[in-house]
Amino acid sequence: GPKLELTAALPDEPADGTVLRVGDPATQVALETSGAIDDLDIDIEWANITGGPKTLEAFRADAIDIGSVADIPPLFAHWTGTDVRIVAARETVDPETHPTYELGVAPGADVTSIEDLEGKKIAYSPGQAQGALVLNVLREAGLSQDDVELVEMQSVDDAFSIALGSKQVDVAPLQQALVKTYLAKYERDGATTIESGVRDDAWTLYAPTTVLEDADKAAAIKEYVAAWAEAQLWISEHPDEFAEAFYVDHEGLSPEDAKYVVDAYGQYAVPTSWDDFIARHQVTVDTLVEGQDQEPLDVSTIYDRRFEKAIAAALEGEGSQ
């Protein structure tokens, strides 16, 4: 489509034949299940791609236009020279009781709060959200990297829960889905989890700036983020339907596990103002800058706040109906 300045107003309608390539399977399932997908005016080509490295790879290869990730991947995309913008933000309604990650504690490791982390072996995966979480936790606990023993390992698959179970590390961040299986396996040996005490609920949609500079794609994304926002709310309101449709049918979890995961993640909120979201993001950025020697970054520069308004407009429009 025609070129669009990043500061120019978003066009309303994409040209006919514009296809938006989206890597966001959860939203896809939500839209399909709620039926909202039929109301979408744009053509979407869904890709079953999630997670930082994969979406970034796909961006670089120009295989998708927009991806769905936590708050860390856009930072690394930026730091490694792929110009991206965050176009949507989501948080959890009650983040303290519904954290995305908990800290798994190995059987026999004497850790009951994050203050006990001093001198402990902690699984640390730089470059992944889990790695950032560990740094955030240390910051909250008032510890430096030297006060603990960081064991570098990538959180591929269930490596962290195995490392915990075999007592190779004392503490490791575990995603909710893994918390359940970890406890199921090792609770009887004394395994526990503790809350991380830091917010880890930030979720974003992001897109390469090259996509956003395409007027048609930008218009399509404007439509998409609106639908996305409604889908997130639908998920919060229909946890059982979503659990069934996504976690059971799409991801192959058992119904019990699916329910557990959905309950654990709690309800989503889509902020219509991103100020707090960006402020919290900046804290994480600063932590990474310090902890991983990254280049300082004013994180607000990688937000495209035109979409903040688009989302707000959509949700308010919805509310007013």
């Binding site: 890597g23 079953n48 796909a58 670089r60 120009d62």
Partner: protein, 282 residues
């Protein structure tokens, strides 16, 4: 002058009732194949798993018990996921295997029969095979997108290397006497390839095929991470990101079954196609 000890094994007698006493000589080769011998080892492995799990020697948290695996497999079959994954993966692997074998074979012939071909082909292939497939994926995504073609070609890329190397090696180690013979018989290059090179390189090719088949299966795990919604590799990856050990083990058992049977098939072909050989094995 002592006469060696003699044995009278009950060999099949031609004229009934006649004895069959042969000099015993220390057998140095491996002797006769044991029928279904290959299965015995696998059965032992299975038995160890069952016994280990039953006696608690194998912690079910480490390795899911066989019965749990069977139950999980049943569930997966009931809801159709396993069959669907098998079909999807099967088609992908077969296409990739076919493509990879064809390409590997042609490259091996070109590189094996002409030094110029070798000069151009061999180096890049050695480079290719030193590089983890995983690392090539970004490039392949760029060039081929994230759809099926990318997956099939990635599998083919994993497959063609062992085919190429083994066929090339097999071809180069054909005895020079046979090439001499062909030269004196004045055969054309095509006839030479068909009647000397291909049969002579066949043992190498078939060994390569054994590796190619496994490679095609293993490559599924890599390619089905990207934009796949079904397939054995996808099933395993998904299950491991949720810590579903039992599903992972089902996937691995399927892999083992596929791998072992594919290997057995290739070895059967090997035995049939190479029946002209007189080796230690025969």
């Amino acid at each position: 002058m002592a006469v060696t000890t003699l044995t009278a094994p009950a060999r099949r007698a031609i004229s009934s009732g006649t004895e069959d006493v042969r000099p015993t000589r220390r057998r140095l080769g491996p002797g006769k194949p044991i029928r279904f011998g290959g299965l015995i080892g696998i059965a032992a492995l299975l038995a160890a798993w069952v016994v280990g799990s039953a006696t608690g020697l194998l912690d079910p948290r480490t390795l899911t018990e066989p019965w749990t695996v069977v139950a999980t497999a049943e569930t997966l079959i009931e809801n159709g996921r396993l069959q669907e994954s098998l079909v999807t993966s099967g088609i992908r692997a077969a296409l990739g295997l076919g493509l990879g074998v064809a390409v590997g074979l042609v490259l091996a012939l070109v590189s094996g029969l002409s030094r110029v071909g070798e000069t151009l082909i061999d180096g890049p292939i050695q480079v290719k095979r030193s590089i983890p497939t995983l690392a090539l994926i970004p490039l392949l995504i760029l060039w081929l997108g994230i759809g099926e073609p990318m997956k099939v070609i990635t599998i083919a890329l994993a497959v063609f290397v062992p085919i190429y190397i083994h066929t090339h090696n097999g071809l180069r180690t054909i005895e020079g006497r046979y090439a001499e013979l062909a030269e004196t018989l004045g055969v054309s290059r095509t006839e030479f390839i068909r009647h000397v090179v291909l049969p002579g390189a066949m043992p190498g090719f078939l060994l390569g095929l054994r590796f190619a088949v496994t490679s095609s299966l293993l490559a599924l795990v890599v390619v089905e991470v990207i934009n796949a919604t079904s397939g054995i590799g996808h099933m395993i990856t998904l299950a491991s990101s949720y810590g579903q050990t039992d599903i992972i083990v089902v996937g691995l058992v399927v892999y083992a079954l596929l791998g072992v049977s594919a290997d057995a098939v290739v070895r059967l072909i090997e035995r049939k196609a190479l029946s002209w050989r007189r080796t230690l094995a025969s």
